[in-house]
């Protein structure tokens, strides 16, 4: 009986400690942001929404920030641009990452741990510094900039409207999407590899025996079976990209304003905490559906279903 009660005690503790930590440091702050987004700004700080004066409890909610966000075209355009850049990055990561993960998963089994390690290693070196490195590579005279100009690829980028003039690669939509694709590629490759490496290859043999070409078998068997990996990877790339701040700041330009920067400026430059909170709340509302999808697939993947 004593063991049972101590076991129960241990169980409660194991759950309660991290649960309380996450409630206090993750969930509670969101409610506070919601509260501040509808409160009045005073000179240095914000006003409490509930006040008690002359024996009257009054509740002052101010939705003007939200009205402003929906009416001001700058905010609308910036939210839209953030979603577009995030989507472009996700598609590029998928286009590069899917074949990459596929060939990794089909490489010799003895090689695979090393290949996997090589994808993980950049995680351990500073992301900030790797993004900074692209500045050197893309500025005029840099290795990649020279290569792109020598191959004439800047004309292609120009005709796609990704760069404003030939040879100018930095501080453009091109450098921004390249930087985000570079940073988030491992987040796409890892779940896809995990998924593709587990696949039962006998299914492909069966398809071949039944007369399917490798190409048909790939589209009809491999791709549908890796759906969970595709979704998990896409969400892992898309959601953080929407609110990305460091990469647009280092690699983006004046015309690539993203919503993370707007939030940052409202907070640090304008000192308008309620406005910054409203921008954050709208951002969370935009990503809440992808977030729910991610949580579902992540939980399923973790629970081995």
């Amino acid at each position: 009986m004593k063991t049972l009660s101590s076991w129960m005690h241990g169980r409660t503790l194991v759950i309660a400690v991290p649960f309380a930590f996450l409630l206090v440091f993750f969930l509670l702050p969101f409610f506070i942001v919601g509260k501040i987004s509808v409160s009045e700004m005073e000179t240095v700080s914000f006003k409490d929404i509930v006040s008690w004066s002359d024996g009257v409890l009054s509740l002052a909610l101010r939705f003007s920030n939200y009205v402003f966000i929906t009416e001001d075209p700058l905010y609308f355009r910036t939210y839209l641009a953030s979603l577009q850049y995030a989507l472009a990055t996700t598609l590029l990561c998928l286009a590069i990452g899917y074949p990459f993960a596929y060939f990794m998963a089909r490489a010799r089994p003895t090689l695979q741990p090393a290949l996997l390690m090589l994808v993980m290693l950049p995680f351990w070196t500073s992301f900030l510094l790797r993004v900074y490195a692209w500045r050197g590579l893309l500025t005029e005279g840099g290795w990649v900039a020279d290569l792109i100009v020598d191959l004439g690829l800047d004309q292609v980028l120009l005709s796609l409207g990704l760069i404003p003039s030939p040879g100018k690669l930095m501080h453009t939509p091109f450098s921004l999407v390249l930087g985000m694709t570079y940073t988030y590629l491992p987040f796409m490759v890892l779940p896809l590899y995990g998924n593709l490496a587990k696949m039962d290859l006998r299914l492909l043999e069966a398809a071949a025996d039944l007369g399917a070409t490798p190409w048909t078998a790939f589209w009809k068997i491999t791709v549908p079976l890796s759906k969970a990996g595709i979704i998990a990877g896409s969400m892992l790339v898309f959601i953080p990209c929407v609110g990305e701040f460091v990469i647009p700041e280092l690699l983006g330009g004046p015309e690539t304003l993203m919503i993370g920067r707007v939030l940052w400026d409202e907070f640090f430059s304008n000192n308008d905490w309620p406005m910054a909170s409203s921008v954050a709340v709208v951002m969370v509302l935009l990503i809440i559906v992808p977030l729910a999808i991610f949580n579902k697939y992540q939980a399923e993947a973790q629970e081995g279903r």
Partner: protein, 282 residues
């Protein structure tokens, strides 16, 4: 014949794709290291070899102070994240039913993808509210640690959870059948088997913390400028060879650390496999 050539083509196409992919991933790292030794007024055009940026770094008190602060925070973050992340992983893997489990698992994974500006802003506003009510904590090392811990717990939980999922529960059941108490089962059976994932989680959260800009910017106070904040403010202004020098030093240290850790982990794993095989043979 045709089948043979297409198989060869496929093999080489796969190798080429992987090769270009790895080139894409590693090119910036190589460039960082190369240009830290560059003796040229134009920072991204190679002219000659020099060590002057490293000499300058040794006298760069702002960067060194930031590095020291970052190392302290990263150490504390890694330790805290591994403890809380392991508890989180345990709760999620071992207990399939408890009140609020869906909320709990959602909160444990959401920080992985939630934009950092949102997390940073919300944490800061909460801490400000707490400070108004209680008079502490001041913004500084402690508040940065809270932020990094939140991110670190989520990453550590994923790493440890993946390992716990693979464990054979019969080993723990056997230990309990032989009379071990739950805490003995944990310390003597479970912990040694998940030790390598704890080391990976520690290293991962350490580097995450050492790297973070956005959370630190929101949560830092006067006098608490971490190294990434110093690097970020310089990088915003343009190319700066002293940043390359710091980068190279970090890359070298991390590369040595990761290679040593994975060698150690691989060795321990082989030893464990051998012992298990021996135990099965009896």
């Amino acid at each position: 014949m045709k089948r043979g050539t297409s198989a060869t083509f496929n093999r080489w196409f796969g190798r080429g794709w992987l090769g270009l992919g790895y080139l894409f991933l590693y090119l910036p790292i190589v460039a960082l290291v190369v240009f830290s030794f560059n003796d040229s007024p134009i920072p991204n055009v190679w002219r000659g070899f020099t060590l002057k940026w490293y000499v300058a770094l040794a006298h760069d008190s702002e960067m060194l102070a930031g590095l020291w602060l970052s190392l302290k925070i990263a150490f504390l973050t890694a330790c805290g994240s591994v403890v809380l992340g392991t508890l989180t992983a345990f709760a999620l893997v071992k207990y399939k039913r408890f009140a609020g489990r869906t909320l709990f698992s959602g909160m444990a994974t959401a920080p992985l993808v939630m934009p950092e500006v949102v997390v940073g802003l919300s944490l800061l506003l909460m801490l400000v509210s707490v400070q108004r009510a209680l008079g502490f904590p001041e913004r500084g090392m402690l508040t940065i640690w809270f932020g990094h811990l939140l991110l670190g717990v989520a990453y550590a939980a994923v790493v440890v959870q993946a390992r716990l999922q693979d464990l054979n529960p019969q080993l723990e059941e056997a230990a309990m059948d032989l009379g071990a108490r739950p805490h003995q089962v944990f310390w003597l059976v479970t912990l040694p088997m998940i030790a390598q994932s704890l080391i990976s989680a520690w290293l991962l959260t350490f580097t995450l913390s050492l790297d973070d800009v956005v959370l630190s910017a929101f949560l830092s106070g006067p006098g608490a400028t971490t190294m990434p904040l110093v690097i970020f403010s310089r990088a915003r202004l343009g190319l700066n060879p002293s940043v390359n020098a710091v980068a190279t030093l970090i890359i070298v240290v991390v590369a040595i650390g990761v290679v040593a850790a994975s060698w150690f982990i691989a060795n321990a794993e082989r030893k464990r496999q051998r012992e298990m095989a021996a135990a099965v043979r009896g």
